[in-house]
Symmetry: C2
Subunit: 125 residues, 2 copies
């Protein structure tokens, strides 16, 4: 088994995004071949693209305040302790609406975590 802390996972600045830092906390490098657990920190004004992908998201909000935008463009407010399920191919994005970092963990099946896919065009967030 592996026991680790968030800061044991390298932080990657997603420059093609808007003010977003990502860490793959538990993933293929840890032997987790089925599921990946990633941590995202969106700085003030930070957002993921409004996008779709053929895999689900399971999300838990960790810190800060933000919204998730649904396929109709409606914004759902989020706070720490909230959980979200986004099905495959459902359009969404997450956006920081507060002055502090907006942090969340985002769990995906392994096919959703591909190191080469860090641009909005081949998005994995």
């Amino acid at each position: 088994m592996i026991v680790k802390k968030l800061t044991d996972a390298p932080a990657v600045e997603l420059e093609a995004y808007q003010n977003v830092t990502k860490r793959v906390v538990l993933g293929a490098a840890d032997g987790s071949g089925e599921i990946a657990l990633r941590h995202f920190s969106l700085g003030p004004g930070g957002a993921s693209p409004y996008h779709t992908h053929p895999f689900p998201h399971l999300v838990r909000i960790e810190a800060g305040t933000g919204v998730i935008v649904d396929p109709d463009g409606a914004e759902h407010p989020l706070q720490p302790g909230d959980y979200i399920y986004v099905p495959d191919n459902e359009r969404h994005n997450l956006r920081n609406t507060g002055p502090d970092p907006f942090d969340f963990i985002c769990i995906v099946p392994a096919r959703g975590e591909q190191p080469a896919c860090l641009t909005p065009a081949d998005d994995d967030s």
Copy 2:
């Protein structure tokens, strides 16, 4: 998409365990057919059985203090913010070592979350 809070998920007392409450926060009932996210709260003295199962665990400690026991019987101390990966078929258990509830989320592939399997003999925790 579904946005929910921990308390939106029914709490189940696992009486065959030792002082453990479980909530399936995101799972099949939410449309999540690949991955389940469960929340466990172990009261003082609470523990899961020392057991194995043919699926992995991805764990994040939420509150309290405890340990995870590895296949050699060694105890690894845990605190909020720690992450754990337990591979398929690796013996382990989690135990509360403090005076307060020891809470964690535990993510499994769908085959690891079967409602009928709530006894130690057919364990899913």
